[in-house]
């Protein structure tokens, strides 16, 4: 890691201005929430403290806890098996287990409810063969938990997979030589080493669940985000929305606070500088078949079933005369927003990363926290706050794609910033200095030295932001100009009215378009690991 070893006194003015504008944009949703709550009259507080809202908060928390637990129970063993056993085709399994990332939760929700829901495909089949006419309703907590767990476990899987392969194998061997068997070594040595990534990954999944709008709305499970959206659609007084949002933000901040407490207390550095032998993989032996069955079931439920469902609805739609041409316009709109957002977000995040890493200001810590806005704020809230500023202060951009792109930037910024910081930290300032000594102009240093060094990091950032923005739903629903539809909004509106066949083509397009950045991402990660 290369921290600010060659402090320059002040950053260039263009970087400072860009950082200032970025921070201002990130602050907007927070300012909005506080303004609204500050203005709220007491009746709003009475309504807010009524039982129904408390109930919604509890429902959100319950979903969050369930999804976090299930994803952990799925991801930890899967990642362990993938990395540390002699699993045949382990690379193929790793790709298959990561692929559900490209399926947006609302697509998952729509497919699951169309297959497993009342009058769904499964019920048709069961009633045809066995005469079973009623199935338990999948909507509600069950459906939301199922969809969110199956589609968000890959995040945790990827995080754990990388930290499991980074565990120093001599720690495990030392424990064995000190008299501990495999199971006790796992409990006493490996698990404590994995704790930070388990906590960070679970934190990510909890915040992801808390801010999810697509799955809970289609599964009709009333959580805070769904409540905010309904309030936004139905009433003029926005104070109540702000109060609910504030609760959501406070929960998110509380979770992050707990995580950082855990992280500060524990110690997980790699000690010593020597190399450790490549770890030995365990032979699965008689467990090979049960492991294959478990892996197969997870891949079936999280990947094959949703994709198969999409194909089924697509073909059924085509036979019943569904149009396909409208999809091109949606693809164009989605790509337009996603590409522009990716470029802007990555550019802004690189500027911010340079500022944070290379210049040591007291405010840096706070700036970093503010940049996390998109991490703690669900899309619904970011969108509503931008509507407020759009209408009241910059009417010109209200109801334009600009405002939508700004919202997408706020939401994707934390992911891009984390990545850009890692990229800048990896570049030794001495390399910059020696390049400057060898070359006359700084522009050639940027083009021939810095950009090639940052290439795989930049590709990772661009791909991640693209993936997130492609799937983004609530901000687009609220901020999209009149008549402006993306793949995401079109899927949601068709699916929420149970036009499953019409939703299939855009849903399949989103999956296919998301595959490209995912492939780039995996390649860039492999490269980064090699370096």
């Amino acid at each position: 890691m290369y921290l600010a070893t060659s402090f320059k006194k002040l950053p260039p003015i263009y970087i400072s201005s860009i950082v200032f504008i970025t921070i201002t944009i990130m602050l907007l949703p927070f300012i909005y929430l506080f303004l609204r709550v500050y203005d709220a009259n007491f009746e709003v507080f009475d309504i807010f403290f009524s039982i129904s809202y408390l109930y919604i908060i509890l429902r959100s928390l319950l979903l969050m806890i369930l999804v976090s637990l299930i994803t952990l129970l799925l991801a930890l063993p899967l990642a362990w098996i993938n990395v540390r056993t002699l699993l045949p085709f382990s690379n193929v399994w790793a790709v298959l287990l990561s692929l559900p990332l490209v399926i947006p939760t609302y697509v998952g929700a729509y497919i699951y409810s169309s297959i497993l829901g009342p009058k769904g495909v499964l019920q048709d089949v069961l009633s045809f063969f066995f005469g079973i006419d009623t199935l338990p309703d999948i909507h509600g907590l069950l459906g939301a938990t199922l969809v969110l767990s199956l589609l968000s476990f890959p995040y945790l899987f990827l995080i754990l997979k990388s930290s499991i392969s980074n565990i120093d194998s001599t720690l495990i061997e030392s424990s064995r030589l000190l008299g501990y068997g495999q199971f006790k070594t796992f409990l006493k040595i490996i698990l404590p080493q994995l704790k930070p990534s388990v906590i960070a990954g679970t934190l990510f999944v909890s915040l992801y669940t808390l801010s999810d709008f697509g799955a809970v709305s289609l599964m009709r499970y009333n959580t805070l985000t769904w409540a905010i959206y309904q309030q936004y659609q139905s009433i003029i007084d926005r104070s109540i929305i702000s109060l609910i949002s504030l609760v959501l933000v406070l929960i998110a901040i509380l979770i992050i606070f707990i995580e950082s407490r855990f992280r500060n207390k524990s110690r997980y550095y790699k000690i010593g500088t020597g190399t450790s032998p490549k770890f030995k993989k365990t032979d699965l032996g008689i467990w090979k078949i049960p492991v294959f069955i478990i892996l197969g079931s997870v891949v079936f439920l999280s990947l094959i079933l949703p994709l198969g469902g999409l194909l089924y609805w697509l073909i059924r739609g085509l036979f019943s005369g569904e149009e396909l041409l409208f999809v091109w316009k949606l693809i164009y709109n989605s790509l337009f927003i996603s590409i522009l957002t990716s470029i802007f977000t990555v550019f802004l995040s690189i500027c911010m990363a340079i500022f944070l890493v290379r210049y040591n200001f007291i405010l840096n810590r706070y700036m970093e926290i503010i940049s996390l806005a998109g991490y703690v704020l669900p899309g619904v809230i970011v969108a509503i706050s931008l509507v407020y500023f759009g209408i009241n202060f910059v009417g010109v951009i209200y109801q334009t794609k600009t405002l939508l792109i700004i919202a997408c930037i706020i939401l994707a910024f934390p992911v891009a910033l984390g990545n850009s910081k890692a990229v800048i930290l990896q570049i030794n300032p001495e390399i910059e200095d020696s390049a400057k000594l060898l070359s006359k102009n700084f522009l050639s240093v940027i083009i021939f030295i810095l950009i090639p060094m940052m290439k795989s990091g930049l590709i990772m950032s661009l791909s991640l932001v693209f993936l997130l923005t492609m799937k983004e739903l609530p901000a687009t629903l609220i901020l999209g100009p009149l008549g402006f539809e993306t793949l995401a909004t079109s899927i949601w509106s068709s699916a929420s009215e149970a036009y499953f066949a019409r939703a299939a083509a855009p849903a399949l397009s989103i999956v296919i378009l998301s595959l490209f950045p995912l492939i780039l991402l995996m390649k860039a990660e492999d490269k980064a690991e090699m370096i």
Binding site: D168, E173, S174, S175, R176, L177, G181, S266, Y269, I271
Partner: protein, 354 residues
């Protein structure tokens, strides 16, 4: 002294690579054995076979007369009572020094555990650091914790895998003395693996020289240095060079002159027949003398404090040799022509040239 470790005919290969080839050796109680070999010669693999972290292809390993490894027999590492200090020390980062050391004492009750940890802390002079975490210690201290943790459960044998390779030169020389004292005080039978001859000489009762998965020579360090059994061993244990020579009628002829010689090979008819040999030249074997018509040229002079190491090159044959020089009033310098004069009457060691 009883036999604690008996390795018979060990073989191990990874895929196509034979890492250990029919290797035999024994270790007696309380002995310190250093295994010296270049990188990749199979030293670490040998330790991993003894500790049970790898399974054997062929051969047998006995610890205290008990068979622990053989084809089809493999006692698990946690059952062998063997301690190992890894190259990177492998301290548990989430435990403080006390808990790291206590980790292997799970069978003791609380009081006994505390007493034993304190005892080991004292031997390793770590008493003040019991509550520190590994990352708060220096490299040398981390190494002492690793050794303390290994010693605590009183292992039958302690294995040290390149224990000094991560230390800076200054700490390393201090630790060499330190570790030797700790091992002697605790009376544990020890095998130390290294690629550094100074480390191997400094710490051991016996020295095993390992080349390509086999032990070429097993003897006391001074004997190995005095009589290296073949050219590979000589290159590993000495800072030496070789010149070509011929033996005829019991006389060794080289371009440096005619000398008395000693052969390390068992079939001694070499002394009578005409035979081509390589002659071992040690840095202390010859003096350098200024001679404008000399057959050698001085290439470099490295000042080493107590002496200088001088590199000379044969003008006609191109080979290079290194010699120690203490002559303060020398007439030659870099680029001078010089001649080499035998500094003592010791016979030169020769190896037959194949």
């Amino acid at each position: 002294m009883s036999l604690v470790l008996n390795c018979m005919n060990l073989s191990k290969s990874f895929g196509k690579y034979n890492v250990i080839n029919n290797l035999d050796f024994q270790l007696f109680s309380g002995q310190i054995l250093s295994i010296l070999g270049s990188s990749g010669c199979g030293k670490t693999t040998l330790l991993r076979l003894i500790s049970g972290l790898e399974e054997l292809d062929n051969g047998e390993i006995y610890i205290n007369d008990k068979l622990v490894s053989k084809t089809g027999v493999h006692e698990r590492p946690e059952k062998r009572n063997i301690g190992m200090v890894f190259q990177n020390y492998s301290l548990f980062p989430h435990m403080n020094v006390f808990n790291n050391i206590a980790f292997g004492l799970k069978n003791l009750d609380k009081n006994d555990k505390e007493n034993r940890v304190n005892e080991v802390l004292e031997i390793t002079r770590l008493g003040d650091f019991a509550n520190r975490y590994p990352q708060e210690l220096s490299g040398g201290q981390q190494q002492r914790v690793a050794i303390a943790r290994t010693l605590a459960p009183r292992p039958t044998i302690m294995l040290l895998d390149e224990p000094f390779s991560n230390l800076d030169a200054f700490t390393r020389s201090a630790m060499l003395t330190d570790i030797q004292k700790i091992i002697r005080d605790s009376k544990v039978s020890t095998i130390l693996v290294t690629h550094d001859r100074e480390e191997a000489f400094a710490t051991s009762d016996y020295l095993a020289i390992m080349v390509n998965g086999n032990i070429e020579q097993f003897d006391k360090p001074d004997r190995v240095v005095k009589y290296p059994i073949n050219q590979d061993v000589a290159s590993l244990v000495l800072n030496c060079g070789f010149v070509e020579g011929t033996i005829k009628n019991g006389v060794l002829t080289t371009i440096l002159g005619n000398f008395s010689f000693k052969t390390m090979e068992l079939n001694n008819n070499i002394e009578n027949d005409k035979k081509d040999v390589n002659v071992l030249i040690r840095p202390e074997d010859f003096n350098i003398a200024y001679d404008p018509n000399g057959n050698f040229k001085v290439l470099s002079i490295e000042f080493r404090g107590m002496y200088s190491m001088v590199q000379v090159q044969s003008i006609n044959h191109g080979f290079e040799l290194k010699f120690i020089n203490n002559d303060k009033d020398k007439l030659w310098t870099i680029g001078s022509n010089v001649n080499l004069i035998k500094a003592n009457t010791n016979p030169l060691i020769v190896y037959s040239r194949n």
